[in-house]
Amino acid sequence: MDVISRVNRSGPTSLSEATEPVWIRGVLIVLALGFLLLFIFLPLAAIFTEALRRGVGAYFASFKDPDALSAIKLTLLTAAIAVPLNLVFGVAAAWTIAKFDFFGKSLLTTLIDLPFAVSPVISGLIYVLLFGAQGWLGPWLAAHGIRILFAVPGIVLATMFVTFPFVAREMIPLMQSQGSDEEFAAISLGASGWQTFLRVTFPNVKWGLLYGVILCNARAMGEFGAVSVVSGHIRGETNTIPLHVEILYNEYNFVAAFAVASLLALLALVTLGLKSFVESRMGDERITA
């Protein structure tokens, strides 16, 4: 509007005259809403209608199945290990990259992004090549009775690999935008590295960190491709929620499949809610003191 009124001073002056005609605006709005309805709202509604097709009783019965329970437990366990570890690694990586200068920094930044660039299936295959019976470390592991592939450790490793960038990627730009002056000030006042991190850096990035953790957790629980390759699909043992949904669906057990899928849908909704709350708090962190 500003530009238009400056360019053409004798022309339209009110906002409505300066925008597109009503019919164009109408078409654009309908297109956007239609897209949202078709690709976001309808699938979400479909999950819950399919899950509740045989009533609430059948819906909750799907979770009583021991295999479903085991899948839920395994998913929670995987996230409970992968997320805290990625939190630690992500914060360490972000702190290193954002606050220090060293040789190979850009290489490290690229490596952190690698899991985003690689297809999850390939990520899983890496572990098969490493730990599989024919893999590099397979024979040695077998000789020592350690099971990684087709067992819980493999699933955790694959999940960690895929979700590694979430925390670091969220933290690096935030820490960089805040600069290192506060840290320098803290150290010059006699604070140790730990004190500097805990009392100065961490409080400045805590909402950003929570944001990264929420995204990391959502992906850790929902990861399909990489986990599918390393899991071996052993029922009641190495199936996570997404893998369990696939099995149920392939067996035409639609109600149970959608019921379990609705858990992931709910997780997504909760994640979105938390995310927008945290985003509003994060605005404060970007303001420099």
Partner: protein, 339 residues
């Protein structure tokens, strides 16, 4: 505490930030590191404070080698250009930080810390804002909090990096006078970096003029202004007219390409040629809004522009207008051997 830097060398990649810099600062001095951006002044300050390590050379505190002492143990109070206050802490917590992070054995009791913080805030004239956050303070207030925070650790030296750089002109002037007074009361050896020569000349005991990673001159403000050691110092400290030497000396030497410097207040304007040797010029602009009258003249012979400053009473006598003919005489001309 006295500070000595010996043969400091620092490179950023291929760029030599400091090129064999040596200087000695006496106990209780207030010293300005003055220079244009990229002259190495901030790098030198950061090396003294331990925020940066030199590639070569040594730093001595009170004659003791401090080169390898980490920033944490140097007891240097550092004040940053953009304050670097801890944004999530109140003013009180900011000032108390240096005391609160001490190991338990040497940490003062809570009541002692509280008393100390209140004293410091009183010293920087900020009592009453203890519970505010940095974002709720003005720039000048933030800088004073930063100063109180640095003073809390009883630093052996106070290092200020462009301390007034982010403030507006009026606050800047007030704050620098106030810092001078504070320094006179506390007598902590203080080094501050600035690119503003007025600031450096006004409050420091000695000025270190830097350029291209080297020290051009060290001296009192008077020495630096009246007896600049190089053409660079002459041009950087104070206003100056640079004119071709043969014009200034009125001798027709065809090979003379060197430059002569004349301060605007060392030029006398006369409306008539009074027999004395003088240069013919035309008035281009007259500015009288200010403490002194500023006249821009163009020399007829060489076409060079001269800035002249004189008392306004003198302009009242001369009543110069643009286009007027005038005759100029130089009271003092400085030339420097080619570098």
């Amino acid at each position: 505490m006295s500070i000595e830097a010996r043969h400091i060398i620092k490179k950023f990649g291929a760029f030599p930030a400091l090129n064999d810099v040596s200087l000695k600062l006496e106990t209780g001095e207030l010293v300005a590191l003055l220079g244009p951006s990229g002259s190495g002044k901030t790098t030198l300050l950061r090396i003294i404070g331990g925020l940066e390590y030199a590639d070569g050379g040594q730093i001595f505190f009170d004659g003791e080698d401090a080169t390898k002492i980490s920033i944490r143990n140097r007891q240097a109070g550092f004040v940053f250009q953009h304050y670097a206050l801890f944004r999530h802490m109140t003013v009180f917590k900011n000032v108390a930080f240096g005391l609160n992070v001490r190991p338990r054995a040497s940490r003062p009791a809570k009541a002692v810390i509280e008393k100390r913080v209140r004293e410091l805030l009183k010293l920087v004239q900020l009592d009453g804002v203890e519970s505010r956050y940095p974002s709720q303070l003005s720039g000048g207030q933030r800088q004073r909090v930063a100063l109180a925070r640095a003073l809390a650790i009883e630093p052996r030296v106070l290092l200020l990096d462009e301390p007034f750089g982010a403030l507006d002109a009026k606050v800047r002037k007030e704050l620098r006078r106030w810092i001078r007074k504070l320094h006179d009361a506390l007598h902590i050896t203080t080094v501050f970096v600035t690119h503003d020569q007025e600031e450096a000349l006004e409050i420091s005991d000695r000025v270190v003029v830097m350029n291209h990673g080297r020290i051009e001159q060290i001296g009192t403000p008077q020495e630096v202004y009246d007896r600049p050691a190089s053409a660079f110092v002459c041009q950087f400290v104070g206003n100056v007219n640079a004119i071709a030497e043969n014009v200034a000396s009125e001798e027709k030497r065809s090979e003379a390409r060197s430059v002569a410097f004349v301060r605007p207040h060392d030029i006398e304007i006369m409306s008539r040629r009074n027999g004395a040797p003088s240069l013919d010029a035309v008035v281009e602009f007259v500015h009288t809004a200010g403490a002194v009258a500023k006249i821009d003249l163009r020399l007829r012979q060489s076409g060079e522009l001269l800035e002249v400053e004189m008392p306004r009473s003198r302009q009242t006598e001369l009543t110069l207008k643009p286009g007027d003919r005038a005759f100029v005489k130089f009271r003092e001309v400085r030339t420097f051997p080619p570098a």
